[in-house]
């Protein structure tokens, strides 16, 4: 949520108008938390502590955190296979996230889901997704619920540039538009779907142009600039909340690491990666906050240290957590109904 309505004569950069210092510092902390989470996850993987694969979002922190700034805990997000950042931005506990990575019973999915399926419904995170584009219609469904049930909540749907070529993308945007649903489609355009560049996969130059086909506003901004991200997404969220329907926001960003652990980066140049690393969203946001006197350098360092400590604690929690019980494995394929409880629609008869 925004902290206060901005005065019309206030022409400071958008985040300073929309958010107080505490929120801005928390945003920086979350960005560091994402960076450190990803770096530690990578290290744990290299040491054989985590199996499977993982998709790291290093370099995309401003887009995850910036996009979630004006959401409340009741607002929903749907996320992607590259979802650790979204999860942290929406307020997840990094201990339970690491526990999920380690396949532990204390993890967000009780060790059943792993990196690609972390969800935190209590905090409005409907989940990462192993299927590219899988979250798009689900976000529209959540927005339909919000509208029918009158909850006033907004759903923010993260997806990658690759997903914009799935049928689900087009079907979802159309339905969201014809029913004027409170959903914001946030495309994190990091230039590649695995090895395939946007130029090779997508007929339009900017994913935001697709909005025209579905009669909704579409904007494209620098996704590594926290100010630009918040200004664009907040406007779309406000529009959704006011009942004016969906928007498409394209955040232009870059993933520093390979697509997953098996990527040899044969489809892009070192220079390109270096160029984008020079546009580090965290360094930029930290410099922005220092420039505007929100924090000073020791303050920045303290926030970074705090993130380091939180991650160390999280890994310790994960490592010392119990493994799931093998005998319990088919639990939760179906809902267990409690016959004693209320079974009216939407009632508490299920768990």
């Amino acid at each position: 949520m925004r902290d206060a309505a901005a005065r019309p004569d206030d022409n400071r950069p958008y985040p300073l108008r929309a958010y107080g210092p505490a929120r801005l510092k928390e945003a920086l902390r979350r960005m560091y938390l994402i960076r450190k989470f990803e770096e530690s996850a990578e290290a744990c993987y290299a040491r054989g502590l985590i199996h499977g694969t993982m998709h790291l979002s290093i370099g995309q922190e401003a887009s995850a955190v910036g996009a979630c700034m004006s959401l409340s805990e009741e607002d929903k997000i749907t996320s992607t296979h590259r979802g650790h950042g979204h999860c942290i931005a929406k307020g997840a506990d990094v201990g339970r996230m690491f526990a999920e990575f380690f396949g532990k019973e204390t993890g967000y999915c009780r060790g059943r889901g792993g990196s690609m399926h972390i969800a935190d419904p209590a905090k409005g995170n409907l989940g990462a997704n192993g299927i590219v584009g899988g979250g798009l219609p689900i976000a529209v469904g959540a927005a339909l619920s919000a509208k029918r049930l009158g909850t006033g909540t907004v759903t923010l749907c993260f997806f990658g540039d690759g997903a914009n070529n799935e049928g689900a993308f087009h079907e979802s945007l159309n339905m969201a538009a014809i029913w004027a649903l409170p959903v914001v489609f946030v495309c994190e355009n990091n230039r590649y779907g695995m090895s395939t560049s946007v130029e090779r996969s997508t007929a339009v130059a900017s994913v935001a142009e697709r909005a025209v086909a579905y009669a909704m506003p579409g904007v494209s901004v620098d996704g590594n600039d926290f100010s630009a991200v918040t200004e664009a997404v907040d406007a779309a969220v406000a529009r959704a909340r006011a009942g004016e329907g969906p928007s498409l926001v394209e955040l232009r960003t870059y993933r520093w690491r390979g697509h997953s652990k098996s990527d040899r980066n044969l489809y892009r140049t070192r220079e390109e990666i270096r160029e984008w690393m020079a546009r580090d969203p965290i360094a930029r946001f930290a410099a922005f906050l220092i420039e505007h006197g929100v924090i000073d350098e020791p303050g920045r360092a303290a926030i970074e240290r705090e993130a380091d400590e939180a991650i160390a604690e999280a890994i310790e929690f994960a490592r010392s957590s119990p493994e799931p019980d093998v005998a319990d494995v088919v639990r939760d394929v179906y809902t267990t109904r409690d016959p004693a409880a209320d079974s009216t629609p939407g009632g508490a008869g299920t768990r």
Partner: protein, 332 residues
């Protein structure tokens, strides 16, 4: 004509088949996500794009329904596409084109067209990729008349079945177990076709028949070694083809031993083993059975992430040994 035999990995054997097809038949194209410079998610297409160019080794956008449909349309009109799903799970997004179009087209049109499309399906669990990247969906597709469904268990068959699929006028889906890609085995040089619809006897034995598919063939062979130490001689039949099923081979084996154990990774209920069991139960071989038929298959749940849980939900060697012992102990 096939020539000398050398050791190749399962992935390299598939690549060799595609390489030969691209070299010898200008109608052949490869399509899929990241099969070009990336070399495929499992490095199966490898360097083929550098040899045959982007016009024939085509990176599609992430559009499974559209991509598979394009392959179907191209197959109906003169090309021979080999479409790679990055994971077989994503074929769920292309169900429409596979099931409603490719499978039925020839029949619906009264035989006026054929759909010679080949679809490659990296399948199975064991990689820690969890529920949406680990399924064994061969029975889903095996249920559809009009499709052919094969599951090579060895590098030799991986090559031979792909060449046979390309030679086939109808749609063929090839389920390749991801854990087999790195497995090495003898592969003949040159062109040879492994017949679609024919099982292969991998081991003979008098006491029971284990009918297994894909990676379970290797687990069944390992189990048979252990069983042999106890004096139980198991026959291992590699099914190779889910549709058409090799009825003759299954009935012959079950008839010889009188005891049948089916083993597959796909979910047990309504799985391939159910069909095999029914086939035997409906035949005259039924009277020669000395014990009830047993089935081992995937547990009734999606594939979990945690490695111990992941192992627990698909049949492992000790499970096969235990089931075979149980079967052998049943009175005649």
């Amino acid at each position: 004509m096939s020539g000398a035999v050398r050791e190749l990995s399962y992935a390299a054997a598939i690549r060799e088949a595609m390489d030969m097809a691209l070299a010898s038949d200008p109608r052949v194209i490869l399509m899929g996500e990241d099969i070009g410079v990336y070399g495929g998610a499992f490095q199966v297409t490898g360097d083929l794009v550098h040899r045959y160019g982007e016009e024939r080794v085509i990176d599609t956008p992430i559009s499974e329904l559209g991509g598979a449909g394009v392959a179907v349309g191209a197959a109906m009109t003169g090309l021979r596409p080999v479409f790679e799903f990055q994971f077989s799970d994503f074929a769920a997004l292309a169900m429409e084109q596979i099931v409603n179009q490719a499978a039925k087209m020839r029949f619906m049109l009264g035989g006026a067209v054929s759909v010679p499309v080949v679809m490659r399906m990296p399948a199975g669990s064991g990689t820690g990729a969890a529920a949406q990247h680990s399924q064994s969906m061969e029975a889903w597709f095996g249920h559809v008349p009009g499709l052919k469904v094969v599951q090579p268990a060895t590098p030799e068959d991986a090559k031979g079945l792909l060449l046979a699929a390309l030679d086939d006028p109808d749609p063929v889906l090839i389920f390749e177990h991801k854990l087999l890609y790195k497995m090495k085995g003898p592969v003949p040089e040159g062109r040879y076709l492994t017949p679609i619809g024919k099982a292969a006897l991998r081991r003979s034995g008098r006491d029971l028949s284990i009918v297994a598919s894909s990676i379970m063939v290797h687990k069944a062979l390992a189990a048979a070694e252990t069983l042999a130490e106890d004096g139980i001689e198991a026959e291992v039949l590699d099914l190779r083809s889910v549709r058409p099923l090799d009825r003759e081979a299954v009935l012959a084996s079950a008839g010889r031993t009188g005891r049948l154990l089916c083993v597959h990774e796909g979910v047990k209920t309504l799985g391939v083993g159910a069909e095999i069991s029914a086939m035997v139960a409906e035949s005259e071989v039924f009277h020669r059975l000395r014990a009830p038929i047993l089935r081992l298959g995937g547990a009734e749940c999606p594939i979990p992430y945690n490695p111990r849980l992941e192992k627990a939900v698909v049949p492992q060697i000790p499970d096969i040994v235990a089931a075979a012992r149980d079967l052998s102990r049943r009175p005649n």
